[in-house]
């Protein structure tokens, strides 16, 4: 199955969601709580995260789109990113790198 990664505020998190990246919650310079990538959240996890003031989590959610819809969405994304970078000089390596990272992020 294909998955998409999204960032959610804690209020929208629910048990059963899967972490797309390791979660490390720090407060005042001390690590309070951590969970590994791929962990499936439980109600206990959510309570612990709330108690440690976790604000956002990176979630992997199933991508139910058809291959055709994925292709349409990718084309739309590419068009918009090209529009934003219309005045950019891609001979500049750092601008090209940012362009690539934005496209990767949008298509994740």
């Amino acid at each position: 199955m294909r998955y998409r990664t999204i960032y959610l505020p804690m209020a929208e998190a629910a048990a059963g969601m899967t972490l797309a990246a390791p979660l490390n919650v720090s407060r005042q310079g001390l690590q309070r709580f951590s969970l590994p990538q791929g962990h499936v959240l439980t109600e206990d996890n959510l309570s612990q995260m709330a108690a440690n003031y976790a604000e956002f989590i990176f979630i992997a959610e199933p991508d139910g789109r058809s291959d055709e819809q994925v292709a349409i969405d990718m084309a739309r994304v590419a068009h918009r990113v090209m529009e934003i970078f219309a005045g950019a000089d891609f001979n500049d390596p750092i601008l090209l790198a940012l362009f690539d990272q934005i496209l990767t992020y949008r298509n994740a």
Partner: protein
């Protein structure tokens, strides 16, 4: 170009027609590294400001939702969500009201962009573990384009034409402004910030956010500059006007920021936090 270029004297003179910057902004910034400062002083102020108080209680009740209890007083809210969040909510709420009162034709897109750059500046600083107070990054981001509001209020037709030109010819807005007005919004914003007696680092961040090479020794400058580029690249705030024409490699180098796969989580946090902040604080701006 406009017949006479805009001068500092004109900017300061006309800004006297605007309300004063909220006192709480200067007070929070002045006490960031004051060990004597305590949360009770700030709470005592908030109790008398119904808009900020409502925001603080709302945020505290979001944090408390899993305990199924209701937070009803500012001091309990403060202990639940902490000093840093209280300061941030106070800054965002007071700045939203200031912008709304000062520049009545402020578009929602302007404020969304400013909130996004403020939040993204905080995330950039966190990502590279920069020794910058997050409140400074937030205020620097919120005010970085304040010069555009001044132009929109006092030179509306010429400013609108400048934006159209910049979009039509894919040039940076600041280049188009210098062509039209002899000065760009970054310089105008810096003059305003100096007049409001904001910290020198914020003045520099506003002045140099399009040309961070001019002041790389002041860390807040590359932080706000990069935050704005990333905000535009992520298409947050002003969908029609978002453009990326430049990213300072010197700014990235001085911060130790590598533009590679390691910024993917940073982009996610920037987008999520900006969207969240905008759902809460854009209701204060019509």
């Amino acid at each position: 170009m406009r017949v006479t270029p805009i001068t500092k004297t004109e900017v300061i003179s006309r800004s006297s027609e605007l309300p004063s910057l909220p006192l709480i902004v200067a007070e929070i910034l002045a006490t960031l590294d004051d060990p004597e400062c305590n949360i009770h002083d700030l709470c005592s102020y908030i109790v008398h400001d119904p808009v900020i108080a409502a925001r603080v209680l709302s945020q505290a009740n979001r944090a408390a939702y899993r305990s199924r209890s209701t937070v009803r007083d500012i001091y309990t809210a403060a202990s639940l969500i902490g000093f840093t969040q209280i300061r941030e909510i106070s800054l965002l709420s007071s700045m939203a009201m200031f912008v709304n009162c000062s520049f009545q034709r402020t578009s929602n897109n302007y404020w969304k962009h400013s909130v996004a750059v403020g939040v993204c500046a905080q995330e950039v600083a966190l990502h590279i573990s920069a020794p910058i107070f997050s409140e400074m990054a937030l205020v620097g981001g919120l005010l970085h384009d304040i010069g555009q509001l001044w132009l929109n209020r006092f030179c509306p037709e010429e400013f609108a034409a400048t934006i159209e030109f910049a979009l039509a010819y894919s040039v940076g807005i600041e280049e188009a402004e210098r062509e039209q007005f002899g000065v760009d919004h970054a310089q105008i914003g810096a003059w305003l910030a100096e007049n409001w007696q904001l910290p020198a680092s914020i003045v520099a961040a506003i002045r140099c956010h399009h040309r961070p090479e001019l002041a790389l020794n002041e860390l807040l400058v590359p932080v706000v500059s990069i935050a704005e580029v990333f905000t535009n690249a992520l298409d947050i705030g002003a969908p029609v006007e978002n453009r990326v024409t430049r990213l300072s490699s010197a700014a990235c180098t001085v911060l130790g920021l590598k533009v590679d796969d390691s910024i993917q989580p940073l982009l996610g946090r920037m987008e999520a936090r900006s969207a969240y902040a905008n759902t809460i604080f854009c209701r204060d701006v019509d």
